[in-house]
Symmetry: C2
Subunit: 137 residues, 2 copies
DNA sequence: ATCAGTGCAAATGCTTTGCATCGGT
DNA sequence: ACCGATGCAAAGCATTTGCACTGAT
């Protein structure tokens, strides 16, 4: 993804385009992990050593509120960020705490169909994901 | 659940039976919520005012390790505890942070069948649950 | 020039740890 | 009597907040 593309992603939500936001967003799309704020901070510091951890937190939060990225909480209660917006499920390794994406069109349509046909009383569904716990082998 | 039953639950895992463990376990089975450690602490203090928050945390952890209860993390990174051991899904209200159980045999067998038929490369599945985010209405 | 964004440090909230004392077996 | 369980306070860690300064528009 080039600079103009990133700039557009950020500014179309009405946000100012800053160097910090640029490098943070770049880092998020570049990684296949599900990085923590701390990890993003470490990476981004290599390109911009004066950035502060507080700014990383605020920026990630801003991106989440603007709908540019997603966040979720891992099994240890730590926030994870993800530039992939489409619904997808996660594999949690109980030993290493590694989190991998699991994407399967069949599963997604299966779930979509299920919840379309089974309305939940008093609840409006916005987002469905599957949490799969186990271990890498 | 009477005292003897609770005592058996606790001691069969090799744990000592103490007053604190008794009241904590009682509180967990009595509530239909998904209590936080803090909430359990408040409740239990009514029956045993000298109990400490640290003991509540340690006891809950002990129960989890003994397989007597389950724990998971809510969307704010706070630990939630649950005396129900069978797999079940949760409804997260984005506004109030309330968590409700969602149990549906059809969904459970659908998921079980799916993962029986779709082995995941390099990953051994132990536990599947669905996270449903949205809002109460 | 304005006002949102940033950096820094202090504060917060939940959870864990260390250690002396207590109590179940 | 032994050794795990408890109470208390301090420490730990991820995250948030307050505020003066900076920089994008």
């Amino acid at each position: 993804m080039d600079i103009e593309e990133i700039k557009h992603k950020i500014t179309k939500g009405g946000l100012k385009f800053t160097h910090q936001r640029m490098v943070i967003y770049e880092e998020l799309t570049g990684s296949q992990n599900h990085p923590t704020a701390e990890w993003v901070y470490e990476q981004v510091r290599e390109k911009n050593p004066s950035i502060s951890l507080g700014t990383v937190y605020k920026t990630l939060d801003t991106f989440v509120n603007a709908g540019i990225i997603q966040k979720f909480v891992d099994n240890n209660g730590v926030m994870r960020f993800d530039a992939i917006l489409e619904a997808h499920s996660h594999l949690y390794d109980k030993e290493t705490n590694e989190i991998r994406d699991y994407r399967n069109k069949d599963l997604e349509s299966l779930l979509k169909k299920f919840f379309d046909n089974n309305e939940i009383k008093d609840f409006e569904v916005e987002d469905i994901s599957v949490v799969i716990k186990g271990r890498n082998k």
